[in-house]
Assembly symmetry: C2
Homo-oligomer: 218 residues x 2
């Protein structure tokens, strides 16, 4: 019975890792689609998103069933509840990647407004935060997770800077307005991906330490 | 023992209703702050947000403890898990109201760009969706919740229309750009509040019918 339960927990964990790999791949692909102006790659994010939706529903169902049947306590219970929360963050990262893909398709219809340097950098920071959050989860490293929570400020700062810069473009030349709005939306969605990575980090700390560090001064 | 558990469930439900009333009040206040250009009212949303944060943490802690101690099954378990999910949506609505309040403070520094008609209407639709979602939860009405999921399109459409209209303003007169960007951000946050109301509706259907209707064609 116990062995079987361990096996069931491992299956749930594997599903979550599948989600994290798909979510991370979505961010990588949509950034590449932006830089290489590749419509086909932008469209590929939709398929990942559908898989993420299905996996999240599967994870929720299994977690609730396992809680009902196995009546877990302490860390096993926290594992199942936090897995549902992390799955919800990963599903949202899939949605945000789709939002970026739509902006990318619009941007590809016009010439580049400016060389894309800040957005890929910002995107890579957000992606690496998601990756590290899942590493903290897999390798039982709440310290890595705590460090991540602080890094969210980096992404927020990059977003604000881009917003200022793009606003100047718009004011100087109204022809840039549509493109600047699309780029702002891309940056905003990347900033949200950073927020979800932060949520994941907080969930990992709660899982391993039983401490809720949300809304705390850091 | 059973009586005591019922009492504990009622306490959790009361905390969630307190959250929903605070979240709805935040949306009402921030819309009023926008229309009446009232900085003090905009600031008041911060206090609600802090209360929402604390209540969400309290609800999560109680739900996890009750699951561990009472080992609930079927509907009681779904109630506790969905309560955590609904609390997370309400907490986010608090955050989005704070985002709107910040835009409102920026907007109040300049003359009105145009009479505010569409945004209050959009905001009231989003607010009423949150209210109905909680009504469906309190009065065990999955039908109301199902109807709500369809209404999300209304808010999305209003957001797209506002986006187009504000883009035209910006192109015609670059002096309007900062204000138009702030109004776009307000509309975007209201659209997200509608999304959270939709999540709540889906969670209510799952609570009462045990069916996961996320990501389904409607």
């Amino acid at each position: 019975m116990e062995l079987h339960f361990d096996q069931e927990l491992t299956e749930v964990k594997d599903l979550l890792l599948r989600m994290s790999s798909l979510a991370e791949q979505s961010v990588v692909n949509v950034l590449k689609a932006l830089v290489q102006r590749d419509d086909a790659l932008a469209h590929s994010v939709d398929e990942n998103d559908k898989q993420l939706d299905r996996l999240q529903m599967d994870i929720d169902e299994r977690c609730i069933q396992l809680i009902a049947l196995r009546q877990p306590k302490a860390r096993d219970l926290r594992f199942l509840v936090m897995t549902m929360k992390i799955a919800s963050d990963l599903e949202r990262i899939g949605d945000q990647s789709v939002n970026i893909a739509h902006r990318c398709l619009e941007l590809n219809k016009e010439p580049l407004l400016k060389p894309l340097i800040d957005i890929p950098r910002m995107g890579d920071t957000a992606r690496s935060m998601v990756h590290e959050g899942l590493d903290a989860f897999v390798y039982n490293k709440p310290d890595i997770a705590r460090a991540l929570v602080k890094r969210d400020d980096e992404v927020d700062m990059m977003n604000r800077q881009l917003h200022r810069e793009l606003t100047s473009f718009m004011i100087e030349d109204p022809h840039t307005i549509t493109r600047a709005l699309n780029l702002m939306s891309v940056a905003h969605n990347l900033e949200r991906i950073g927020d979800h990575a932060t949520n994941i980090a907080e969930e990992v700390v709660y899982l391993y330490e039983g401490r809720d560090i949300r809304h705390q001064p850091i």
